[in-house]
Amino acid sequence: MSAIAAEAPHDDHGADHGGHGHEELVENNYMKVPNVKLALWTFLGSECMFFGSLIATYFFYLEKSISGPLPAEVFSIEITSISTFVLLMSSFTMALAVDSAKSGAMDKARNWLVVTALCGSVFVGFQVYEFYHFFHMGLALQTSLFGSTFYTMTGFHGAHVTVGVIWLLMCAALVNNGKIKAERAVVIESAGLYWHFVDIVWIIIFTFVYLLEFAK
């Protein structure tokens, strides 16, 4: 816990997000951090282990399938590159949404949230297409170790993106109704943390699962 203890004296310098430096506005007086953000980061820590396990399991069973198409036979580098790019850019638009909200431009924030959700939907659309395509090439969840580990890993990621899209649209609606104002930008920032995390999981999956397959 030394990390937390060491934090206290530095309370008044550094970044100015999340009400930093405004004692009376801080929810949690002991750690001086907004609860919602602390909860989000803790949740994301557990998500690291969740996706870490799924990725490790995928590796563990890689090249041990005894039937069905091989990864290199089903993967399409073009399609996955496009969807990866869309998801990366959605992180950018998400950052812009948080930035707009913190700057007090709530209309802009709402628009960027919608754009981000749209990018997320496009990514999910690509994934649905990919799964459909793989399935018709003879790769089902129960076909092989590759099938079951691949679909479980990328499926859970896709589910996270889907949840994120719903979350962002809810935020956009609340911003639109004036329920989230600039001083409560931390709510959007938290949704953004989740969104960026889902993006970095895909950065890892894209490189380690897709690109390394073509690097062999």
Binding site: D16, F92, S103, E183, I203, F206
Partner: protein
């Protein structure tokens, strides 16, 4: 929902930084994909791809998520589990990323590590090749078996073996049973009617059918005897036998 209040006035926009970050991410991703089209760099593919992915991850976490200049407690609750996850993936990943092994030749070899041929049943591991390897050929030539049959008068040993091993599916009189063994007393055979063929069928069985391989249950002599007896049944056409299955051969 009790929110934390944010001071709009004192906030400085990060738009420029974010735009720069987006450009960096795009360039690095393009480099990752482009790398694969430079065969000369093949030995460095894995380390370079991993470095670029880690760089992208760090950029997103550091810039978009502001973990670098945020509270320590956030770093603690996020980076500690991430470190554990990375360690776990690294250890397991040694099986697929030999470049990252600190010592040895880097590949964790498991008993289950099989070649493509083994995994997909091609080449020397194809079904045909395995069947051919597993099959035990009859120990005499086709001509010798034919001669042996011509000189054999006493089939009682074969008949006894038939009763013990074959009758349960082919019936005691050899007439065959529906859904199981075919009629042995007609002049039709599914897997060849010469003594040699019959020895082969009895020895190795028929894959995917009820006919099991007898090579582990009867010795060579016993299989010869039972095959000769089977051959002697041809053309008897017992009453109530199953109708012809397979190819017709000469009646005698």
């Amino acid at each position: 929902m009790s929110g934390i209040l944010h001071d709009v006035e004192s906030y400085h926009s990060h738009k420029k930084l974010y735009t720069k970050t987006a450009i960096i991410l795009t360039v690095v991703t393009a480099a990752e994909i482009g790398l694969l089209f430079v065969p000369a760099l093949k030995p460095f593919f894995t380390p370079m791809l991993v470095i670029m992915a880690v760089y992208k991850l760090a950029v997103v976490v550091g810039t978009f998520m502001h973990l670098g200049d945020d509270k320590n407690v956030f770093r603690l609750v996020f980076l500690a589990p991430m470190g554990m996850a990375v360690a776990m993936i690294y250890v397991v990943g040694l099986m697929v990323m030999p470049h990252f092994a600190p010592f040895g030749d880097g590949y964790v070899k498991l008993a289950t590590h099989k070649s493509k041929d083994e995994r997909y049943g091609t080449g020397e591991y194809s079904k045909e090749a395995i069947a051919a390897r597993d099959n035990k050929p009859p120990h005499l030539s086709a001509e010798k078996y034919t001669a042996l049959f011509a000189s054999t008068k006493d089939f009682s040993a074969g008949k006894k073996l038939w009763g013990a091993n074959c009758a349960s599916c082919h019936k005691a009189d050899g007439g065959g049973m529906p859904g199981l063994g075919p009629n042995m007393t007609d002049d039709c055979y599914l897997h060849g009617g010469s003594v040699y063929d019959i020895v082969n069928t009895v020895t190795n069985g028929v894959k995917g059918k009820a006919m099991i391989a007898f090579k582990s249950q009867l010795n060579e002599e016993e299989i010869d005897q039972v095959a000769l007896y089977v051959r002697s049944m041809r053309g008897k056409n017992v009453a109530g036998g199953k109708k012809c299955e397979g190819d017709k051969v000469a009646a005698k």
